[in-house]
Amino acid sequence: MSEPAGRAGEQVYDVVLHVNGVLRPASVPARRLLSDCLRHDLRLTGTHVGCEHGVCGACTVLVDGRPMRSCLMFAVSAQGSEITTVEGLGTPDDMHPVQQAFRECHGLQCGFCTPGFLTTIAAFIEENPEPSEEEAREAISGNLCRCTGYQNIVKATLRAAELSRDSPGEST
């Protein structure tokens, strides 16, 4: 973290975040949420904010491989960690198995909560490559979705694990 710089009466810190494999500099006040920094400073708007109090899980990103609520973290405290957002999971031409599975299984409707599910599930299937349906349901039960009723997200979780097993090494 560099010297505090002046910006409109509030101390600003120059930080460098390691996001999706790229070092990204940003100048942020101490209170800048990681979610806001990712979205508005780094313009990685795939991470969404649904409640800003850590309950809905839409803002979930991977911090050193673990799902974390980026609305409950400050940007300045994310320095030194490897952060993966939904943009880092895969691209439309080269999707992560969990992204493929969501499309195949109709695991999303409005898509607002989806990035949080995708990051959560990406980490989960790393940890548990052959989950049962019950384990899949358990794994996603910390994220809120208001559209799908979860049935197809459970299905997509199982399918993502299957796709990952079929093509090992492709998942993040």
């Binding site: 409109a8 009466g9 006040p29 209170r31 800048r32 979205r39 508005h40 313009r43 990685l44 708007t45 795939g46 991470t47 969404h48 904010v49 649904g50 409640c51 800003e52 109090h53 309950v55 809905c56 839409a58 957002t85 939904v86 943009e87 999971l89 895969g90 691209t91 439309p92 999707m95 992204q99 969501f102 499309r103 195949e104 109709h106 999303l108 409707q109 409005c110 898509g111 607002f112 909560c113 989806t114 990035p115 995708l118 349901r137 358990e138 996603i140 039960s141 910390g142 994220n143 809120l144 979705c145 208001r146 559209c147 799908t148 009723g149 979860y150 049935q151 197809n152 997200i153 459970v154």
Partner: protein, 837 residues
């Protein structure tokens, strides 16, 4: 032939960008816009005595502070009454920023604009508003007692009182062999989309034009309202709904105060301004729904046929009525469900309370109406000792009676006439799907083993696809790509896919060549909005009709080019060809080129349309009835709603100790006519059921007596996670609507409609005593059990009619209740004989 896409579970075309973080929701736009925040009333009812903004002025980065008196022109006027109705005799709407008095917690008072949202909130919290407290009215019961008032000039708190009656209810009730009365209650819940509301405005001072983005369910509605409030010509205002993170009704209400204020401030400041609602704001200042108290009186014969139904509803409309009385009108008409009571009267009072406004939430008054009707059906079955499914069947409208005219007026101002449906067939499907008899036996066996297992079912009819109209523009570009635009918006329903399926089928082009745009007034300016399960019916048909126009035009032009009769042509995979002679063909792309006679070529293909390339010089390049471009616009405007229907059954087990309800099976039979995309329809049903589970078992708005919303966060307002929602089993019946070209009926709201009713039925069956109020929490069920054990809540009589001799106390109580029922019967008996002889 091109493979038909209508009816296929096509994967969604919009998903690729949504799952890779490349889609744009409201707050993904305008990173450099100024941020707005609001000072909102912390009190439910108070007079504003002073607003001191001096503290805010010290905040570095502050740009502007506005109160009511700063608002110029129509921007400060009372917000519009969107849907006037003759019965809404005392409509009241609020101001964008409160003037003098606040009437609910969350009402906006001061708007702050600053460098960003953080700074705007810093400034907002330094603004001191002084209040003189006024007594608040909270809850339907307090509202109807009217010891206090919300609006000084509405002494009874009644905004609207409406009665609809069909047949001689009083006479039929007096003559009925059996009469029952039920007092029912449903508490408040809310749409609660994952993305809150948001507005982003870009004023172009040079052009004098406004471009507005809003997370809305109606961009044309917002556009018209903003133009009016800002005194701008309509063609100087555009409104775009970007990707919208769910709506479920809350975003059909408009203009929200912020939808007026953000563009107004953007013009005042000549800067981009954005406001993004946070979750607490959404709880206290966006709309709620559902809260009602109901009284049902029903007269029926020995077979359980309803002869007279007399329903009174007290509806909580919150502090203002900008959306009119649509919700209680829907409750009072859709309550009828698939049934044909001999006579029907429904009377409602819509009541003011010092709480946030009530406007449609998915289902829009139907869950309450269905609750009333289905509780009644169960009570009739209970009284007569009949099977609950059988009682329903006996009251069904039969397919032969379609179209069925209820002789009432529906929410669209048109006659309540069911166009389609086969209710007996749907019931058969549902009974087969869940195994009604087996599950009844299973539940009974489980109960005799001491478990609290119960089975319930509920039926509904939903008027979908309400008018007045939607339209679509379809154009084949010279690349051969098809661009479809319709004005209504999308909040996750998969319109980009299902609408593309329709256009691709009609035009004979591959799905990937079709691109659909919704909710952008720059692309299509005439529209109503996405609500009332109307998008597929309205825009789906408009797109089909516009596509047919384009197809006819393409065949006409291709016919001339190929020198064949257009009737001999077909379009397959984007190529117009002679039927049976596919070598004689012309690509749609070339037809598009030919449709627009050119003087100047802009590429290789367009040379074909230039003046020396076109052969026939006998007539003008554009014929008398023709227009340039391979495009067409059309509108679908129905005479009435298309009525979808469904039936749900659930098997639950309540924990014997904790009274927690666990869902063992959940089955749905759904009839929305032909399915455009079954995968998407089932997804809609899943989501609706999940919201229904929430509304039945978990979600409620907990206002205290001061009008403070105690659970205004996701920590405290319990929405279901995956752990609470069951796997849903679905079967479809597809009875087409005769009203529209595609025969389709809406599906969006279906899943949520019968939930309160079906869970009440199953929990009641499990426990052996009546459930009259929803949602029901474990604590409430626990308390009911205690009161039941203490003899304060009677047992179901049907329980004693079954063989279990063990439960002697239950039997005794039930007998007592049955005796009362018999007394009613005896009293009515002479009349019965008169009417039946």
């Amino acid at each position: 032939m091109t493979t038909k896409l209508f009816g296929e579970p096509v994967q969604r075309v919009e998903d690729a960008k949504l799952i890779t973080g490349r889609a744009h929701f409201l707050d993904d736009l305008g990173h450099d816009a100024l941020g707005a925040a609001f000072v909102r009333s912390p009190h439910a009812h108070a007079r504003i005595t002073d607003i001191d903004i001096t503290g805010a002025l010290e905040v570095e980065g502050l740009v502007a502070v506005y109160t009511h008196e700063d608002l110029t022109g129509a921007a400060g006027d009372r917000l519009p009454l969107l849907i006037p109705h003759p019965a809404l005799t005392e409509p009241r709407t609020g101001y964008p920023l409160a003037r003098d008095v606040v009437k609910h917690v969350g009402e906006p008072i001061v708007m702050v604009v600053a460098r960003d949202r953080y700074v705007a909130e810093d400034a907002a919290e330094r603004i001191v508003v002084s209040y003189e407290f006024l007594p608040p009215v909270v809850g339907v019961d307090n509202a109807r007692r009217a010891e206090r008032t919300v609006h000084d000039d509405v002494p009874d708190n009644v905004s609207a009182h409406m009665v609809q009656q069909v047949g001689e209810v009083d006479r039929a009730m007096a003559a009925a062999p059996h009469v029952l009365e039920l007092d029912l209650e449903i508490q408040r819940s809310a749409s609660m989309p994952m993305e809150g509301k948001g507005v982003y405005a870009r004023w172009d001072a040079a052009e004098g034009s406004m471009r507005l983005y809003s997370s809305t369910q109606t961009s044309t509605g917002v556009r018209a309202a903003v133009a009016a409030r800002l005194g701008l010509p309509l063609n100087k205002v555009d409104c775009i709904a970007p990707m919208v993170g769910g709506g479920f009704g809350a975003k059909i209400m408009h203009p929200w105060p912020e939808e007026v204020l953000v563009p107004w401030a953007a013009r005042e400041l000549d800067r981009e301004v954005k406001w993004v609602e946070d979750r607490r704001e959404h709880f206290i200042s966006s709309a709620h729904e559902r809260g009602q108290i109901q009284n049902v009186k029903v007269g029926f014969d020995d077979d359980g046929r309803v002869l007279a139904l007399d329903v009174r509803v007290w509806h909580d409309n919150g502090a203002y009525t900008p959306y009119g009385i649509i919700v209680p009108i829907i409750t009072s008409t859709q309550l009828l469900g698939p049934y044909k009571p001999g006579s029907y009267r429904v009377e409602f009072w819509s009541l003011y309370t010092n709480t946030v406004i009530v406007t449609p939430y998915r289902g829009a008054g139907r869950p309450q109406g269905v609750f009333a009707m289905e509780r009644t059906m169960d009570a009739i079955a209970e009284q007569l000792g009949l099977d609950r499914a059988e009682v329903r069947r006996r009251n069904f409208i039969t397919p032969a009676e379609m179209p069925y005219d209820h002789q009432m007026t529906f929410q669209d101002g048109r006659p309540l006439i069911y166009d389609s449906g086969d209710f007996p067939a749907s019931l058969d499907k549902l009974k087969a799907l869940i195994g009604w008899d087996e599950m009844s036996a299973y539940a009974e066996q489980a109960r005799s083993d001491g478990r609290k297992v119960g089975l319930g079912l509920a039926c509904y009819v939903e008027g979908t696809g309400v008018g007045p109209y939607e339209g679509a523009h379809v154009v084949v570009e010279s690349s051969g790509k098809v661009k479809v635009a319709t004005g209504l918006t999308t909040q996750g329903q998969g319109h980009f896919t299902s609408f593309a399926q329709i256009a691709a089928d009609e035009l004979g082009v591959p799905l990937e060549d079709v691109e659909v745009v919704t909710g952008d007034t720059r692309r299509f300016g005439y529209a109503v909005g996405t609500f009332a399960s109307r998008a597929a019916v309205m825009s789906g048909n408009a797109i089909a009709m516009a596509s047919r126009k384009v197809r006819a035009k393409a065949l006409h032009i291709a016919g001339e080019a190929l020198e064949v009769d257009p009737g001999d042509l077909e379009i397959v995979d984007g190529v117009v060809r002679v039927k049976g002679s596919p070598k004689s063909a012309i690509p749609l792309a070339t037809v598009a080129v030919l449709s627009n006679p050119l003087r100047y070529a802009f590429d290789e293909a367009s040379k074909a349309a230039t003046q020396f390339a076109v052969g026939d010089t006998s007539g003008p390049p554009i014929g008398a009835d023709q227009e340039p471009g391979l495009e067409g616009t059309d509108y679908y405007s129905p005479v009435g709603s298309a009525y979808a229907n469904g039936m749900h059954a659930v098997l639950v087990e309540n924990d014997a100790e904790t009274a927690e309800t666990k869902i063992l099976r959940y089955c749905v039979v759904h009839d929305c006519g032909p399915l455009i995309n079954p995968m998407i329809v089932e997804g809609q049903v899943h989501g609706g059921v999940a919201q229904g589970v929430g509304g039945a078992l978990y979600e409620r708005m907990e206002y205290d007596e001061n009008g403070q919303l105690l659970n205004a966060s996701f920590m405290d307002f319990l929405m279901p996670y995956a752990s609470e929602v069951p796997t849903i089993e679905i079967d479809h019946l597809e009875t087409p609507s005769p009203l529209n070209p595609l025969g389709i009926k809406g599906a969006g709201e279906a899943g949520v409609i019968p939930s309160a009713a079906v869970f009440a039925a199953a929990i009641e069956d499990a426990e052996g005593f009546s459930i009259r109020s929803m949602p029901i929490s474990p604590s409430e069920l626990f308390e009911l059990r205690r009161r039941h054990a203490a003899g304060e809540v009677p047992s179901l009589t049907r329980r004693t009619a079954t063989k279990s001799a063990a439960k002697r106390t239950t039997a005794k109580k039930a007998t007592a209740k049955k005796a009362t029922a018999k007394k009613t019967t005896a009293k009515k008996a002479p009349t019965k004989r008169r009417t039946t002889s």
